[in-house]
Assembly symmetry: C2
Homo-oligomer: 284 residues x 2
Amino acid sequence: MNNILNDVGTAMDERTVFLISDQTGVTVETLGHTLLTQFETVKFKLLTLPFVDTVDKAKQVAERIDRLAEEQGVRPIVFTSLVQEQVREPLLRSKGLVLDFFEAFVAPLEEELSVKSSHMLGRAHGMFDVQSYDLRIDATNYAIAVDDGHGVQYYDRADVILIGVSRSGKTPTCLYLALQYGVFAANYPLAEEDLEASRLPAVLAPYRSKLYGLTISPERLRQIRLERRAVGRYSSPQQVSFELRAAEALFKKYAVPHIDTTHSSIEEIASKILNETGIERRVR
Amino acid sequence: MNNILNDVGTAMDERTVFLISDQTGVTVETLGHTLLTQFETVKFKLLTLPFVDTVDKAKQVAERIDRLAEEQGVRPIVFTSLVQEQVREPLLRSKGLVLDFFEAFVAPLEEELSVKSSHMLGRAHGMFDVQSYDLRIDATNYAIAVDDGHGVQYYDRADVILIGVSRSGKTPTCLYLALQYGVFAANYPLAEEDLEASRLPAVLAPYRSKLYGLTISPERLRQIRLERRAVGRYSSPQQVSFELRAAEALFKKYAVPHIDTTHSSIEEIASKILNETGIERRVR
């Protein structure tokens, strides 16, 4: 982002990385990100180029890579996920270090399965699978309808009901479960009266087997709440500690499985919940 | 799913695929899915095994793979994304066809960058990046607050405002943009009075440059609406056609860029919007 000298060195220290896809770029972004995070001492500048699906577009991108290679004096790194060989071709001839994940894995799969791959565009993320789409939309609409204690009359439909104090990560986890996996996830906030009485809200009683608790460290929760409301009881150290201690006591008392979200990403929280509950991923 | 004879043949025709990760499994699921969709004539049974992060766990999984290989008489396909070599080792010695994303690409990257990768766990999706987490949560909360025409007073903050008729895909696209990319996306439904008058709702006037339209085929929209409300004007062919024609006319009249979502996945819609508007991915 910085083209002039900085205290670390020159912008030349920043290695340009192209993430090139004939589809949305989600696959190649995932792969590139996973690999690059293993090189924490190197600074990368990422450029996602989706929908590179013709030879002409690929040639233009190859020219851009070559220009950058000359300007910067180092090879750009190029992650590609291109199904068609003729589209991959101009990039393979470019001055970038091209790592194509189709090329690497399709051949061994073809051999193992004794079939040729279709080399067709529009599969994977690009593939329009009406059933998956509808399921994800339904699950997302569901998550919104049953967010934050609303729509308890629809809890029969829930795969899982997340419970926890305000700002423990319930809503984004439910939405992620819906969008990524087509899982029906509701969430219910633990109110102060429930925490004080150390009793599960009555409305949750019929759904004990679906409950899953989220907890978080007091420091992190306080930080999150302060950004929302800088003053008052809501973000006071005493209140935050009380709520979390009481919520965790409740989880123990009612044997509700639970997870500490303090050091976890949304993906990680969602994946752990599915893993521990055995709820099936309806969409992948 | 089916262990007995079926009309296609035996369950043996179904090739078992393990998706094994030392983290959440999101990366290996994405990559595996992309590759497998290229083999449309083969039936796959997918098993995601996340958090395989010790040699012991890897050995147990390897035994499971070997058992399956013997029972089924064919090698299971094993996609792995395992950072630590010693964890990968037992799997590589198993009877599965093991395709590891790390092994394939880390070596050429190490050579190009002249540094050793950290081979550390807890990066990528597992890495807890507070800033990204907060951004995604903020964007998600924002998307909920400004869903379906609510919270127009917060439109200054929006990166993009999606407009379209009811059930054209606005809400899931906004949530996906938030969760996947940390992008602030609002959505506003086009009401019948706006469509009839062929005029942009007054509230959107100050934000013309942020607008992006979603449209969809009448057949598909009708199908979606019928699932919601089987009878009445809402899902009648006439009403659906009128709304879509009027919305598209509005997009043209006000030069609002727009996209047809009929054959697109949520990922694809989101990626196309970012690509065409140039809105930066804040999180990858």
